[in-house]
Each structure stands twice: as structure tokens, then as C-alpha cells.
């Protein structure tokens, strides 16, 4: 469990880092919190020839409000996001979900950008990004572009980024008024990757009818999985228990096609998806209607 040999660079700016990525291309990997990369290197599953350590790039550490939305630098520690009052105010769903990521020790090192870039199908942040319509700011030496979260995720540990590109920043838009949100997951033990989890965002119109709904799962596919049919079922409905149950049922039986692993077989995953979908949709609708806890 010792990594193979690699060269190590510690650039001080994004431009320097991008230069290194351009020079070494696919042989190089950015090192963020190291919480996923270092274990894979120790198992020798990843053997990058070059590590470009982002930890010394101050311009990548920030959380700020901009254009009414939330902006986080890629190297912002997960723990900083969790504890930020700004995040809690502008993006309460993100705030609610952060404690579900691993253990606090890991969140102290792990970064928002590292998790988003890693694209683990069991990870929370990619699901939240899709649920919240986040946009990723991706740069290379020659190019800079914004990619929507939906387009960013391309399958198992795969994103729209090219090897010489780097995730620099992520933007979470503010939810319109009349929105409700919720996140929940079921893990075998606190801090473990979840067997299933989901984020829901629901918007009600003036007559308290659902006009927008989004339900996104983790751990049921190769990346964040949107339950589109379930969401469509809810739109136009008064949010009541029956409608939510039907949507959850559709999500679990139509929208997802989970495979099993040693912790949860496909049937159990579907079962959990139904349970969690019902929980998050209920809570999101209550929050949207302002009836939470009533």
C-alpha cells in the first residue's frame, strides 16, 4: 500500500497549475484534498506520473455571494462549506447535505472541487450540483468555459473535463421563492458512502401547485441519476401524500435501474430509493409550502 513513484509540483497560481497540466497532459493529476486520490494511489489503482498540488493556490479557496448566487473556489474545504453562514443562507440544501459526506476529519481535508471532479456515483456533491443546477467553471491554458452540472457528469468517474483542464470554481444559483428542498440518505454506518440517497428541489406556484420538481439520486447508477418521470408526475399536482407516494414509486421502479454491490442488492436499493424519495419529496414540499413541522 505504497504509491508508485511520481513527480510533485506545488504551483502558487491557477495559471501555473494549468501550465503544468498542459505540459504533462494525461500523465498529471491535480491533488486537492487527497481523500480519494491518495487511497487509490496507495492501492496502485492510480499511478499518475505527476501530481499538481493545488493546496498552495490561494485564489482557489473562497466562498462568496455573486449575482445573487453562491460561488465556491474549487479548493474550498468541505468543512468550510458546511460551516459557512453564507452557504446556509443562499444554499440551504447544500448546507443540509454536507454533514452526510464522510466524517468531519475527511471533510477538513476534502474539497468541494475534488469531490465534484472525482465524480463518484456514491458522492453527495455531484447530486447536489445537478439538483441545484450548478455550473462548473473549467479552465485550461487555452480555454475557459462554464459547464452545467447536467452536462458535466458523463458516467462512472467521468466528467466533461479534458486532462489538461481543471475545475476552478462552482456556482450555485439561488432558488426562486416558493422553493423547497431536502436531502436524505441511508448509509450502513455514519460517515460511510450511502447505499442510496437523494436530493429534491420543488417549486410551488401562487396557487400552491407544483410547477418545478427535481429529484436526483446517488448510488443507483453511474453518476447522479435524475428521476425525470417522477418529477413530471408531480408537476401540476397539489403536493399531497398520495401524489408524493406515487412519484416515489415511479422513481424507484421506472426512473432508476440500480445494480447491486456487497452492501445492497438491486431490490433493496429500489426499496431504499422509494423510502428516501418519499421522505425528501415530502420535506421539500412542506418547505415550499411553509408547512414544515406542522
Amino acid at each position: 500500500m505504497k504509491p508508485a513513484a511520481f513527480d510533485y509540483f506545488a504551483p502558487g497560481t491557477v495559471d501555473e497549475a494549468l501550465g503544468l497540466l498542459a505540459d504533462y497532459g494525461g500523465d498529471a493529476k491535480p491533488l486537492a484534498g487527497g481523500q480519494s486520490l491518495v487511497p487509490t494511489m496507495n492501492f496502485r489503482l492510480a499511478q499518475p506520473a505527476v501530481l499538481v498540488d493545488l493546496n498552495g493556490i490561494e485564489e482557489l479557496f473562497f466562498i462568496r455571494e455573486e449575482e445573487g448566487g453562491l460561488r465556491c473556489g474549487a479548493m474550498t474545504r468541505q468543512r468550510s462549506v458546511e460551516r459557512s453562514a453564507l452557504v446556509q443562507r443562499i444554499s440551504p440544501l447544500l448546507h443540509e447535505a454536507m454533514p452526510h459526506i464522510a466524517h468531519s476529519q475527511i471533510r477538513n481535508r476534502g474539497t468541494i472541487g475534488g469531490s465534484l471532479a472525482h465524480a463518484d456515483p456514491a458522492a453527495e456533491l455531484p447530486v447536489l450540483a445537478v439538483a441545484l443546477d450548478a455550473r462548473m467553471y473549467v479552465r485550461s491554458v487555452t480555454d475557459a468555459r462554464w459547464v452545467s452540472a447536467r452536462d458535466f457528469y458523463m458516467g462512472l468517474f467521468a466528467t466533461a473535463m479534458l486532462p489538461e483542464e481543471m475545475l476552478v470554481e462552482v456556482a450555485f444559483p439561488t432558488l426562486p421563492s416558493g422553493s423547497g428542498w431536502a436531502f436524505d440518505e441511508v448509509a450502513r454506518q455514519h460517515g460511510n458512502y450511502a447505499m442510496c440517497g437523494a436530493a429534491a428541489v420543488v417549486g410551488l406556484d401562487g396557487r400552491r401547485v407544483v410547477e418545478r420538481a427535481r429529484l436526483v439520486f446517488l448510488s443507483v447508477g453511474e453518476g447522479p441519476v435524475e428521476a425525470e418521470q417522477a418529477a413530471a408526475l408531480l408537476v401540476g399536482e397539489q403536493p399531497n401524500a398520495e401524489a408524493i407516494r406515487a412519484a416515489a414509486e415511479t422513481a424507484a421502479t421506472q426512473d432508476i435501474d440500480p445494480v447491486g454491490d456487497i452492501h445492497a442488492g438491486p431490490a433493496f436499493r429500489r426499496h431504499l430509493a422509494r423510502v428516501i424519495a418519499e421522505r425528501v419529496l415530502t420535506r421539500a414540499c412542506e418547505r415550499a409550502a411553509g408547512t414544515e413541522g406542522q
Binding site: M1, K2, P3, A4, A5, P39, F43, R44, V186, R188, Q189, H190, G191, N192, Y193, M195, I262, H263, A264, G265, A267, F268, H271, L272, V275
Partner: protein, 783 residues
């Protein structure tokens, strides 16, 4: 009189050092010129080795040596059979033991094929990538039942079958029980493998000093003396040339008593070849393959009963997973056979096992060691019988307990220590009553459970009993010495892995010598400081080494009194030992310190009387005629989330009887740690092998250990039924916490889902498995 320290909850002598990081562990050993070792391990569980291409590995800078089986010459030998078969009547036995490096064939994933020695572990692991082994993959033997079918691949080709052993033990005549029965129940039970996952993996530092012609080995072993003797023999050295030190060890749990792991044999040999010290520290991934595991068994069990719940007899036929090699003989299946009988009267018993070779890592005892399975089968049979007879699970246990006046109680079959299975003492019903009281059984059944079930909660209760054969022979020894400072030093051969030996042994000695336990310095696990002994296993340290301590300390006490009597001109009966001094009873003015006596007992000039032994020192040995039988009752209230199938243990009670208690604080720690391990075994920990024998969860990310959040506060109480077999009256306690937990989970879950007739017949469980079982039971109910 100074207060008695035996029996007191004294804080542990070793903890300040452990907590401050000032205790020596194997990986702390740093020697000048030390090289590091890595092993090339097979990815395949079963394959023929066509050839090995070192691919220039030896030429890489920083590499000192690369060895394969062929390089070992005559030194390449299968390991010894550690435990010969006990004299069980009907027995067929085909021992096959592990080899230092696989030669023609690999028999389990992770089996070592080559060794690399290099300047650093990093370089050594880089080298592993250079070596190419040309394998011919073979079908793997994974499932126990498949292993016995004809046409199945063979783990050991020369055997012609996959049977490691078959053995039958009987008591009375099962057929009679079956004939006389009102009810006969038959069930199949599965118990699957886990790994001990000690916080410290294994490690070895081996150093040959050419000038002193001494080999020193630091080894995370539970049996340093046996390692010394064995390695000396293999290497052609005198035992005095080999010193094995088992320093502080972060958990043993059994697998670290597996003697002559390939790494132990190879590092000792390679340091002699290279003349440089070598270090190998097992990493967590290796630990999942290269350290032994336990617990795969399948039981077909039948119980015969009277309508009133009286057990007439049991027939049990089971398969035992031995893994790829079986160095430990029959210890585990025999332990299962014996422990199954529990605290109950079982007049007729027929037990038949087949131990099976599979292409999985080696199996040797792991905390509980065969007992979990036996207890699971017995307790499940009682639960199922009670259900069928309409008796409550408490009454059926009470009805069948061996009564206090029936001891010593013989079960007639042979135990793992080769003697007839005989319980020395016990008193089971009071422990049961105490557990019922502590768990609040009546209140739960009558009030709490119905009220909560009415609002859709799922809650269950369980109560199980078990016995544990502990403190087996052959023997241990101890040397007690009073030093000039008045402090006492004690040496014994057993190794220590966190059991609190530095304190409980000190307490045993302190009372005899009249000093504080903190003034007794215990040395364990260094073969140069104590020559003889067997090791730490089978809950035997306190019983066997503890009584040796007691004997040696008593002898030193006699020496002190004799000498002091002469000095103080008093009769020995008139003297007492208090706070490091001997004084005439009630006359502190007439006294002498034991330190002064120790100096006088070692004269530097002049003459002594013929026959005089120097010093205030004695060495004594203790070997029990047979083991002591501890017992206990565990009870639990379990809440199941009916939607997620996650569990919450609301209350956990242990009432335990291990005879006389030396240190209640240490005992508490032993029990709690054991329960935590049992909880892991019941609901979190499972090794998932695929059909090719590959392990799918060889990391702590996917092999789930119980965390602090999963282990409840444990309410415990202790009964003391002393063992009549040893002077201290103690019984072992090391494994007790872990043994009955699977049975306890099963009963609680059955209880929580009794409306759908859930019947759990396997361990380990998981939320996923519970979901499947509940879904099946509901479907059966609705069909």
C-alpha cells in the same frame, strides 16, 4: 493490614505508557542498516504456477534480494501441525499446512509467491510490479458443500478430495432421543467468515548479529516461546541463539497465535542470508489475505424434545471451512461440537463434522474460536422449539439448565484440550434472573413493546445463555523477584496484546508480597527473560499464568517470612507483610523492608550455608488438570427501522461468571470489547468472496467494523462461582463478550418480526439481508 488488591478495579499499570505513545510496538524498532521486505501475492485464488520471471527486479537500484520458493532449497518446508488431533473416537485426518512461498500452485488469493528486499518499502513494492508470474488459472473451491462434490477441483491434488478431517463424537444414544420425542425440529444454519481486524496488523523485525551469533526477532506474536523454538530448529541454531520479543501488540484475537506464518519463517532466514536487519509490516490490504480468518460453518441440526420443553437430544452434522491450509488441526470444529451443548442437560448427543479445504485464506481460531457457531445452533434450536411448543424462550432455557448440585458435570465427549469435556462449576439460573431484571424483560414484553408496536415501531428482545471452556493447559510459568529497591519484578512467557496483564498479574503478586500493584513490574513475551511457556490463547492467561504467578509469589513470600523471622527473631506466624516491609504484627517498630532482605539474600562476600539459593526469587509453573468453564447470559433490546432495516441497540446487558474476579475494570473492558466484536460479526462484518475466490471487500471501506456509534453502552454484572480447579478460583474471560452475540441478534429480530414468522438462521446479517429475509417471510405469510 494493607488492603487487598486482588479483586479491586485498579487502573492499568501499562496505560500511561500506551496513552502517551511511549510503548514499544514492532514498527517502532529501527535498526542501523535495516532493509524492508514486500511480498508478491497471488491475485488468483487457485492457479498453477507455470513460471516466474523476475524481469530484472534484482538489478534495480536499491534492491538487495528477490527470492522465490526455489531459492529456499532445503529450508522450503510446509509449516508444522500446531495441534495434533485429540483422541476423538471416530476420526479421519488429512493435515496440510502452509508453505513459506507457493511453489507449483497457489491455493488462496494473497498467498505469497515471491519476496523482495529493498532499501525502503516503497522500492520493494515498486519491484513487485517488475515480477511476472505466468499462472494457469484453475477453478476455485469456494462453497463448502460444492467442495465435497465429485469432480470438484482439488485444493491439494495429492489428497484426491477436499476433506481435511471428519470426526464424530457422541454422548448417549441419539436414536433413543428421537424415538422418545414429542417434537423433533430440523434446521440448517449458516455462519460465515470474518476477520479479526486487530488495530495493529502483523509485523516482524529480524536481525542477525554475526559477531554475537545472535538472532533477535521482534514479532507481533501471541506465542513468542514457540516461535523461538521452532525457528531455532528450522535454522539449525541453538535456542539460546534466538531471542523472540513480542513487544506491545495492538490486539491479537487469535490469528496472531498462528505460528510460522510465511513471513515469520522468511524474514528469519533472509536476515541470515543478507546479514542485515529486515522489517516487514503487514499493511491493511495484506491483512485481509495473509492473516488467518474464521467462522465459516454450515450446520444441519436436529433437536428432540418433550412437550414440556425438556431437551432429549441433539444431532448435528456440520461442515467447517478450513481454508487452504489447516495448521491448527481440529481445534475449531471440536470447539464448536463441545460448546454447542451449552449450560443445558443434553442426554443424547451425536455430532459429526467435516472440515473442508477451500481456496480461501487459512482458518485458525479467532476470539470465540468455534464457540459462536455452537452457541448459535443451540440457542436457535431452543428458540424455534419454544415457538413450536408455545413455551416462552426464557422457560425453555430455565427448564434445561444444569443445576448447581450437578457439578462437576461431564459431557463425556473430548474437548480441545484433549480431556473429557467436564464443567468444573456453574450456577446458571441466578445469572438468567439478573439479566432479566437488568434488561427489564417483563416491562418490555407487557408494556413497552405492545405500546410501540401499536404505533408501527419494530422492537424485539432477546436473552441467550452460553458457556465457554477457558483456561486450558498445558502450562505456564512465572518468576517473581524482589529487587534491592523493594520493588518486585515478574516475568512470564505469555505474550500480551492489550489484556491488561501488567496489572492483573501484578495484583496477583502484590497481595502475596505486601506491595502496591504499581510496584510490581511485569515482563511478558521476551524469550530471554522467561524460557518456558505456551502462549496467550483460549482465555487462559489469567487462569494458567495467573496461578503460576500466585504459586511463585507465595513461595517468595515464604522466603521473605523465613528470612525476616530469623532477622527479627520472631516466629513466622507473628509476621505480616505491609507496604514493602515485614513487621511483627501490630509492632511497626520491629520491621525490615523487603528491599533490605533482598540485598542480604544476595551476599557479595563471605560464605553461605550449603544449599542456599540467592535472592528473594522463585520460579513456579502451573498446569490445570483441565479447563475451567465460564458462563454468561446476554440480553438485548433492539429497534429495527422498518423502512431502512438499520438497527439500533437500545439496551445491552451482560451477566457474566468467570469465577473469582481479579480486576473488575479490566474484566469490563474485556467484555465490552468482546461484545463490540460480536456486534460486528452479527451485523457488519462479512468477507465477500466471489465464485473465483477473490475477496471483494479487502479494505476497511467495504469491510465494516462496528464504530463507537454502533456499540451501545453495556450494562454488566458479575456472578462469582469460583473454579475449584485452581487456587485463585479464576476462569477465563477474554472471549466471553463475543460468543453469543449472533444468537442474540437472531432472537431479537425474530421477536421484532414475530407477526410475519421471521426465523433467522444465519450470521452475519446486514440491512440488505434482513430486507430479503423479511420480504421472504412476508411473502410466505401472504401465500
Amino acid at each position: 493490614m494493607s488492603t487487598r488488591q486482588f479483586g479491586q478495579p485498579i487502573k492499568r499499570n501499562e496505560d500511561p505508557r500506551l496513552l502517551a505513545g511511549r510503548a514499544l510496538f514492532t514498527d517502532d524498532v529501527q535498526l542501523a542498516g535495516m532493509l524492508h521486505v514486500a511480498f508478491l501475492r497471488s491475485d488468483l485464488a487457485h492457479a498453477r504456477i507455470r513460471s516466474i520471471d523476475l524481469g530484472g527486479a534484482k538489478e534495480r537500484p536499491g534492491v538487495a534480494a528477490v527470492y522465490t520458493a526455489d531459492d529456499l532449497g532445503e529450508y522450503w518446508q510446509p509449516g508444522p501441525l500446531l495441534v495434533p488431533p485429540p483422541p476423538v473416537g471416530q476420526l479421519e485426518f488429512h493435515p496440510r499446512t502452509q508453505v513459506p512461498l507457493a511453489k507449483d500452485k497457489v491455493r488462496h488469493a494473497g498467498e505469497a509467491v515471491a519476496v523482495v528486499v529493498a532499501e525502503s518499502r516503497y522500492l520493494a513494492e515498486d519491484e513487485l510490479d517488475d515480477i511476472f508470474v505466468d499462472y494457469e488459472p484453475l477453478d476455485a473451491v469456494v462453497d463448502l458443500e460444492d467442495a465435497l462434490e465429485s469432480g470438484t477441483p482439488l485444493v491439494h491434488d495429492d489428497l484426491g478430495h477436499n476433506i481435511n478431517a471428519r470426526g464424530t463424537q457422541t454422548k448417549g444414544d441419539w436414536a433413543q432421543a428421537e424415538d422418545a420425542a414429542d417434537l423433533v425440529i430440523r434446521r440448517r444454519f449458516h455462519y460465515d467468515r470474518g476477520t479479526a481486524a486487530a488495530i495493529e496488523n502483523r509485523g516482524i523485525v529480524a536481525s542477525w548479529d554475526d559477531k554475537s551469533q545472535q538472532l533477535t526477532i521482534w514479532d507481533t506474536t501471541q506465542a513468542p516461546i514457540a516461535i523461538r523454538n521452532g525457528l531455532a530448529g528450522m535454522l539449525g541454531l541453538s535456542e539460546h541463539q534466538v531471542r523472540v520479543i513480542a513487544p506491545f501488540i495492538g490486539g491479537g484475537f487469535g490469528p496472531k497465535i498462528m505460528m510460522f506464518y510465511p513471513e515469520e519463517v522468511l524474514l528469519a532466514w533472509a536476515t541470515l542470508q543478507l546479514g542485515r536487519p529486515l522489517k516487514w509490516i503487514e499493511d491493511r490490504e495484506e491483512n485481509f489475505y495473509a492473516t488467518t480468518q474464521e467462522r465459516g460453518q454450515v450446520h444441519d441440526a436436529t433437536m428432540a424434545l418433550k412437550n414440556d420443553g425438556t431437551v432429549l437430544g441433539i444431532k448435528d452434522v456440520f461442515l467447517h471451512d478450513a481454508g487452504a491450509y489447516a495448521p491448527y488441526g481440529l481445534t475449531l470444529p471440536i470447539s464448536s461440537q463441545c460448546t454447542l451443548l451449552g449450560p443445558y442437560v443434553v442426554p443424547e448427543y451425536h455430532s459429526e463434522f467435516t472440515s473442508v479445504f477451500t481456496n480461501k485464506p487459512i482458518v485458525t481460531p479467532y476470539r470465540g474460536a468455534g464457540r459462536q457457531h455452537g452457541v448459535f445452533v443451540m440457542e436457535r434450536l431452543l428458540d424455534i422449539a419454544a415457538k413450536e411448543l408455545g413455551i416462552d424462550p426464557i422457560s425453555i432455557r430455565r427448564k434445561n439448565y444444569i443445576q448447581p448440585d450437578q457439578f462437576p458435570y461431564s459431557n463425556e465427549i473430548i474437548f480441545q484440550d484433549f480431556t473429557q469435556l467436564t464443567y468444573d462449576s456453574g450456577n446458571y439460573e441466578p445469572a438468567l434472573d439478573r439479566a432479566l431484571e437488568l434488561i427489564g424483560y417483563q416491562d418490555f414484553i407487557r408494556e413497552n413493546q405492545p405500546r410501540r408496536e401499536a404505533v408501527g415501531e419494530r422492537v424485539g428482545i432477546s436473552v441467550v445463555s452460553y458457556i465457554e471452556g477457558t483456561g486450558i493447559g498445558p502450562y505456564e510459568g512465572a518468576r517473581v523477584t524482589v529487587e534491592a529497591s523493594g520493588k518486585v519484578s515478574v516475568a512470564t512467557g505469555v505474550g500480551t496484546q492489550g489484556q491488561g496483564h501488567y496489572t492483573s498479574f501484578a495484583q496477583v503478586v502484590a497481595d502475596q508480597i505486601g506491595v502496591a500493584a504499581s510496584d510490581v513490574h511485569v515482563v511478558t513475551g521476551d524469550t530471554d527473560l522467561f524460557y518456558w511457556g505456551a502462549g496467550t490463547f483460549a482465555s487462559r492467561g489469567a487462569v494458567v499464568a495467573g496461578n503460576a504467578m500466585h504459586a511463585a509469589a507465595t513461595k517468595v513470600r515464604d522466603k521473605i517470612l523465613k528470612m525476616a523471622g530469623e532477622k527479627l527473631e520472631a516466629a513466622e506466624e507473628d509476621l505480616e507483610l505491609i507496604e514493602g516491609r515485614v513487621q511483627v504484627k501490630g509492632v511497626p517498630q520491629t520491621s525490615i523492608s523487603i528491599g533490605e532482605l533482598a540485598v542480604e539474600a544476595n551476599p557479595m562476600r563471605g560464605a553461605v550455608r550449603p544449599g542456599t539459593e540467592p535472592g528473594l526469587e522463585a520460579t513456579e509453573y502451573y498446569g490445570p488438570e483441565r479447563g475451567a468453564t465460564a458462563s454468561g447470559v446476554h440480553a438485548m433490546i433492539l429497534r429495527v427501522d422498518p423502512e431502512t432495516f438499520l438497527l439500533e441497540i437500545e439496551k445491552y446487558v451482560v451477566v457474566h461468571d468467570c469465577g473469582t474476579v481479579i480486576n473488575p475494570l479490566i474484566l469490563e473492558g474485556q467484555i465490552q470489547g468482546g461484545v463490540a466484536q460480536g456486534i460486528g460479526n452479527a451485523f457488519y462484518e462479512q468477507l465477500h468472496f466471489d465464485e473465483n475466490g477473490a475477496l471483494r471487500n479487502a479494505s476497511l471501506m467495504d469491510y465494516l467494523l462496528p464504530t463507537a456509534a454502533d456499540v451501545p453502552n453495556i450494562v454488566s454484572d458479575h456472578m462469582e462461582t469460583p473454579s475449584p480447579l485452581n487456587p485463585l478460583g479464576v476462569k477465563g474471560a477474554g472471549e466471553a463478550g463475543a460468543i453469543p452475540v449472533g444468537a442474540l441478534f437472531a432472537q431479537a429480530l425474530d421477536n421484532a418480526f414475530r407477526d410475519i414468522g421471521l426465523e433467522v438462521r444465519e450470521i452475519p446479517l446486514s440491512p440488505n439481508r434482513l430486507f430479503e429475509l423479511v420480504t421472504e417471510a412476508s411473502a410466505r405469510g401472504n401465500a
